[in-house]
């Protein structure tokens, strides 16, 4: 694995059983993601986009093959190590924002740092800095139910990047927001990628996301159909 390579999927398959039917969500996929990429997985529903993100983020395990993140085979990690790995090396942005409802925007963004036992003063500095970057500093004390969808997604981005993970996995991040909010969110992620070098991997069927992605990985039936801009 080259130094720039963050993610490598080697012959990865993921098979689910639905009753007596075997569904092959991902089928013998090989894929590399390099540091600093702004990439998108695209394809129709059921093409395996979310499953791939889940496996890279250690939320799911492959039925065959191996997933490497920063050179480590995730299958070799214990449950505790996987938790720490997700905490320290992966940022998640979900389609439905998925903020913790009992925490404020500030506390949501701070959550991962608190799990990492980062000292309180440093947490405050870093969280307020990232909330300013995503334009949510003024809403720091609001709870998720007091924020719009776009605002919640910006807080989710803040939570995903505040711990400076190796990669941010964003599952349909613009699916539940209006066009204007979607554009703002994409601007924001692009800016974080450009200025801070944060690696992003999206799953999407939003054309606006695909247009912005510098690398577009097209999937069909769990297989790689095309890899555009992967260089």
């Amino acid at each position: 694995m080259s130094e720039e390579q963050i993610v490598r999927l080697a012959g990865v398959s993921r098979v689910y059983r639905q009753g007596n039917v075997e569904v092959r969500a991902v089928d013998r996929l090989d894929l590399d993601i390099r540091a600093g990429e702004f990439s998108a997985l695209s394809g129709p529903s059921g093409s395996g986009k979310t499953t791939i993100l889940n496996m890279i983020g250690a939320l799911d395990a492959p039925s065959e093959g191996a997933v490497y993140l920063e050179g480590r085979n995730l299958a070799e990690l214990s449950r505790g190590e996987l938790s720490r790995f997700r905490r320290d090396r992966v940022g998640f942005v979900f389609q439905s924002y998925n903020l913790i409802p009992v925490l404020t925007a500030y506390e949501n963004a701070e959550f991962v740092l608190a799990l990492q036992n980062v000292p309180a003063m440093e947490r405050k500095t870093r969280v307020m800095a990232v909330l300013r970057e995503v334009g949510m500093a003024a809403y720091a004390n609001r709870r998720p139910d007091e924020l719009s969808g776009g605002q919640q997604q910006r807080v989710a981005i803040a939570r995903a990047v505040v711990s400076e993970p190796a990669i941010v996995l964003a599952d349909e991040p613009t699916a539940n927001v209006d066009s204007e909010a979607a554009a703002t969110i994409l601007d924001l992620m692009e800016q974080l990628n450009r200025e801070k070098g944060v690696t992003f991997l999206f799953s999407t069927h939003d054309q606006r996301v695909m247009d912005r992605a510098r690398r577009l990985i097209r999937l069909r039936d769990g297989r790689l159909e095309a890899d555009e801009g992967g260089g």
């Binding site: 889940n54 983020g57 939320l59 799911d60 449950r79 505790g80 938790s83 720490r84 997700r86 905490r87 320290d88 998640f92 979900f94 439905s96 998925n98 903020l99 913790i100 409802p101 009992v102 925490l103 506390e107 959550f111 991962v112 608190a114 799990l115 990492q116 939570r159």
Partner: protein, 413 residues
């Protein structure tokens, strides 16, 4: 991590559910205090009432007297025993007494019964139930006199009242029949049929002469304490202190009144069993509530796990919720139970209309007024048990929360 903050906010998010669950904990405390409190009160009351009818919380007698009571087994120097016993800090009273069986006759009528020889100068109503139950006349004044305090039913049977005479016939220390003429000084009525129809109090010194005992002779020294939990210690101390003085046996009320001890043990067992069942039902209710709360929040736990919280941390969060729910329940329980306990410990509920005229059960006089009394140990046990049960009820939901599959649960709406 903000586990406490998160737990409190989660509890306040569904206030009605939190209140209902806390109230069920509080209700558990209420029931436990009522059951245990009535037990602590009634057992204490039964034991005290029973012991002030003669034998004391702890009794000192000649060896073998408890198994085979006989007037031939007697202690020679009651006064020095009494002085030695009274020196113990836990002892609130020690009384030399002679107890045995006798025939009582007046005119052509006679009745069998028990006599209790007492020194009127030493005895107090606190430790002698008959003295507080006098309904006619008074206790005899002189230990060497010929007075007698007789139960109301026996007085009626022998057609006696204060001022009239009767003859007591007993077997003396050598096994010879001997009689003594007594004059009724008063009549007592305890409410217990066995006592009222079968007990006569007579002067100690007169009885010593009748039985052929020396000046310090008694059949037992009845020892009393204000704290029933101390009887074992008193027994141990007295055994150690009195063992050089001869072949004595120092027994607690559990040994001298084994029937009462058995009755209380069985009743306490059922009481505890009932409380355990109530506790388990309440714990099951709390677990159900916690489990519902956890299942409703699958997605939330999924997010927490996805962003790096470990399963153990998620489980801990649910346990912290249980902890605070338990604290809330305890606080509510104390608020709910305190006024009830205050009223019941002071006033109580008079059940005499239900009990009838004979206030005895299994040969033991019972208080017809239902009251509550709680020993500190019982109170701590209740609070501790309820708290532990509440925490335990959170364990399974906590484990479930930690095992939520994040990838699937995040998609739940």
């Amino acid at each position: 991590m903000r586990l406490n903050t998160m737990a409190w906010r989660t509890l306040s998010r569904n206030r009605r559910r939190t209140l209902i669950t806390s109230l069920s904990v509080a209700f558990g405390i209420f029931l436990a205090v009522t059951f245990t409190g009535s037990g602590d009160y009634s057992y204490t009351s039964m034991i005290n009432t029973s012991t002030v009818m003669g034998l004391g919380h702890v009794s000192v007698a000649e060896e073998g007297n408890n198994a085979r009571p006989s007037l031939a087994r007697w202690l020679r120097d009651a006064d020095s025993l009494r002085i030695a016993t009274s020196g113990l800090p836990e002892v609130s009273g020690a009384y030399p007494r002679i107890m045995g069986q006798a025939m009582f006759a007046a005119g052509a009528k006679s009745a069998g019964g028990m006599f209790m020889g007492i020194d009127p100068a030493l005895e107090t109503p606190q430790h002698n139930f008959f003295l507080r139950s006098v309904v006619d006349g008074a206790l005899f004044a002189e230990a060497a006199g010929r007075g007698a305090l007789i139960g109301a039913e026996m007085a009626e049977k022998l057609n006696l009242r204060p001022g009239r005479k009767m003859v007591i016939t007993v077997t003396d220390k050598d096994g010879e029949l001997t009689s003594e003429l007594l004059r009724i000084s008063g009549v007592f009525q305890t409410g217990d049929h066995a006592a009222d129809s079968g007990i006569v109090l007579v002067p100690l010194d007169r009885l010593r002469q009748t039985l052929g005992y020396g000046p310090g002779g008694v059949t037992l020294l009845a020892v009393y304490t204000d704290d029933l939990r101390r009887v074992k210690k008193i027994q141990a101390d007295l055994t150690e202190k009195l063992s050089p003085t001869g072949r004595l046996e120092v027994l607690t009320w559990r040994e001298t009144q084994a029937d009462l001890a058995g009755l209380i043990a069985v009743d306490r067992l059922f009481n505890n069993l009932l409380q355990l069942l109530v506790g388990l039902v309440i714990a099951a209710g709390i677990m159900n509530t916690m489990l519902m709360s956890v299942l409703e929040r699958n997605r939330e736990f999924g997010i927490m796990l996805a962003v790096g919280m470990s399963p153990a941390q998620v489980a801990r969060l649910v346990l912290v919720e249980s902890f605070w729910l338990g604290c809330l329940g305890l606080a509510l329980g104390i608020m709910l139970t305190a006024p009830w306990f205050y009223y019941m410990s002071r006033t109580g509920i008079d059940l005499s209309a239900l009990v009838g005229e004979d206030y005895s059960a299994g040969g033991v006089l019972v208080d017809p007024v239902l009251k509550l009394r709680l020993f500190r140990e019982s109170a701590l046990a209740i609070l501790g048990t309820v708290f532990v049960l509440t925490l335990a009820a959170g364990v399974y939901p906590a484990i479930r929360a930690g095992r939520v599959p994040p990838a699937r649960s995040i998609k739940e709406v």
